[in-house]
Amino acid sequence: MVAATFTHLHLAEQLDALHAELEDGPLRQELGLPQRAAMVEPKAPVFETRLRFVGTGCEYYGVWVMNLLLSVLSLGVFSAWAKQRKARWFAQHTELLGDRFDYHGEPLRILAGRVVAVVLLALYSYGFLISAALGWSVLVAFIVLGPMLFASAQRFRLANSSWRGLRFDFRPPTQRVYAVCVPVVALWLLGTALAALGASQEWLIAGVAVSVLGFPLAHARLKQLQHEHAWFGGQSFRFTAAAADFYGLYATAAVLLILAAVAIVLSMHFVLRTFGAAAAEQPWSIAFALLSTVVVWAVVWPYFAARMQQIVWAHTQWGDMRFAGHMSSAELWKLTLGQMTLVLLTAGLYWPFAAVAIARYRIESISMVADRPLAEVAVQPSTLASPHGSGDASADFFGLDLGW
């Protein structure tokens, strides 16, 4: 986005020069037009700032290690309070125009959301094992309630984040939520539904293939939903159409993944040849496939994430404020690889340092651009009277945090 602005400036300069030529220069004389005082358009100034992350891995380690100890000792109950501490730490160490962000999620709400999530996951995993009726009703419930739960989780995250005392929000129209989410949920559950119907191997593979191929499109629509209906301080965000860019990125990622899948299948074939047919029956072949997936993911994900960030922010606006993403795939890949290696070498103890390093890179690569001083742009008159949370009844009912 910044590069585009610079190009715009360059063109403007050329037009100015041409205009000046015409007004005062020899060209005007040649044409026999009367002289006029030079009128040079003042160049439009561009104001840009970036987010700053001021936290360090050392500081976060102290928070993280106690979180983990208490979470394990409490068999997971403390994890809701742990999430609140973590979210607040990251928010309050992120700075924009000299002021920090904040997080207001209540631990009890987070806990309720986690209990619901665990119950749903258990029902989904073991529903069909208990009875076909239960399995099917769980699937139907997912499709009916899923979109609202997703929207609720999004809203929880945003409405509990603030900057300069103003909250963010997420207010999508209900029909939009269902129009975008139902296909996603259906794709996700396709495999389970086919298995429940006792479909043969080929149908199951076809189902998985459809899910995998349809996912990029579904994800693109989800991202659009998330950004289009996000709000800050009474002013909504805007998300300009980005379909072509999304498809291009997903297509590239898909090609990379297919190549990787082919490589994995070939190596599995080689392994089976060496260890004999018996190897296919053992769970270790699944372990090998999983390890390969981790490696592939570690290579493809940084490229995907960096490009995705650039695309999404380039199409996002808030009032007069535009955004730009400056993550580079190479940097992200190096960072992720290095950090994850250290995490593995330290059996996980390095994790908080890695989380901070990656968060810092991602946060500090977002810039805000405007044609007026950003401090002015940020101060938008708010049409909202309520400063704290929401009085919306349905939001309270669904006001659960289902993220992890």
């Binding site: 500081e59 983990l68 394990v72 000792l73 002021d99 260890f275 053992q282 390890l291």
Partner: protein, 358 residues
């Protein structure tokens, strides 16, 4: 508390909660114990008890929530003021900012995780399973065995005589496992079109015995044909051990436990690492379950008055039959202990000299 001069004036940043405008304000706690903000063309007063302040990190600024929806941000210069404003998680503060205490917490965490991995998850899983009545096993097992029987197996090709002999020996023998419903199912692995290509794979799949949680013990023809009647009873004893000790339920409970543990440890990290980690641990407990079933088989054989080396000869025959079907896997990746290990265990228990590995 102190004289008026002990209540200094500091500066903070105040937001009214209705616009993003930044106001620098003077803050001090008056002699009446109330917090006063002066700035932005107004003076506001708040009782200290209605102010809410979250966890305060080592470095500020830190936000203080005001009841009217505004927020006041104070930094280190406001330290004397902040002392009078309690923050959340104050008891954790000293464990968070002191390097020695953090190391202590790390040590406690690592010890706890190692213990959980070794013993804790196993104990918790066993406890959880004991809380579940056996009817749950039967219910889950019914669906599972019906599915397997319908889709993968077909009628046994053993002679009617042999089948009758085995059933006749089965009924009185399984009274050893009192209170547990069991039934014997002699089957053959059915030929599916996509398996027709690999004969060795089919033979491998037919050389098997397994038990479902509802007490259905399946013996497949490949195995039954290779073993004597006594050795078949040994295998039945092994499978009975699985049913009696409720290994399927234990596996489910344990895998949930390990998944949760790995999820907490690898935290926000990749789900692949979580699945991999918990998968490996589940395999280890699967091998322990197999050893437990072998021990039950030994008791079963003794109870039936069969020769004590029956189990060993079973493993020797299985090993011989499986040898041409492919290489062996490293034991840490396998659901079962290696056959060599099982044969050696029997030799040791029978006080026979160990055989030199070929």
């Amino acid at each position: 508390m102190g004289a008026i001069s002990d209540n200094p004036t500091v500066y903070g940043v105040w937001f009214d909660g209705r616009s993003a405008e930044r106001h620098s304000v003077q803050v001090h706690i008056g002699s009446d114990g109330q917090l006063k903000l002066r700035g932005a063309g107004s003076e506001r007063t708040y009782g200290l008890s209605v102010l809410r302040s979250g966890e305060r990190w080592r470095k500020g600024p830190w936000p203080v929530s005001l009841p009217d929806g505004g927020t006041l941000w104070l930094d280190e210069t406001a330290a004397p003021l902040l002392v009078q404003l309690p923050s959340a998680y104050q008891s954790l503060q000293v464990w968070r900012d002191n390097a020695w205490r953090v190391m202590l917490v790390t040590l406690a965490l690592v010890t706890l995780l190692l213990w959980l991995d070794r013993h804790g998850v196993g104990w918790l899983a066993q406890g959880a399973v004991q809380l579940l009545p056996r009817s749950v096993d039967e219910h889950l097992g019914n669906a599972l065995s019906a599915k397997i029987d319908k889709e993968e197996l077909t009628v046994s090709s053993l002679s009617d005589l042999r089948q009758a002999v085995l059933h006749d020996r089965f009924k009185p023998a399984v009274r050893f496992a009192s209170g547990v419903k069991v039934r014997l199912l002699l089957r053959s692995y059915s030929l599916a079109e996509n398996d027709a290509a690999e004969e060795s794979l089919r033979n491998l799949r037919n050389f098997n015995a397994f038990a479902a949680p509802d007490g259905s013990i399946f013996l497949l023809d490949g195995l039954t044909n290779a073993l004597s009647d006594d050795e078949v009873m040994a295998v039945i004893g092994h499978e009975l051990g699985h049913v009696v000790h409720r290994h399927s339920m234990q596996t489910i409970a344990r895998s949930i436990g390990f998944l949760a543990l790995a999820g907490l440890v690898w935290g926000d990290g990749s789900t692949a690492m979580t699945t991999l980690g918990s998968g490996l641990q589940t395999l280890r407990h699967s091998r322990d379950a197999e050893r437990e079933a072998d021990a039950y088989a030994r008791e079963f054989i003794a109870h039936l008055g069969l020769p004590p080396q029956t189990l060993m000869s079973t493993w020797v025959k299985v090993s011989t039959a499986l040898a041409p079907m492919g290489g062996t896997l490293p034991s840490w990746l396998s659901t079962h202990p290696g056959l060599d290990e099982r044969i050696e265990t029997e030799r040791r228990l029978l006080n026979l000299p160990p055989q030199v590995n070929r």
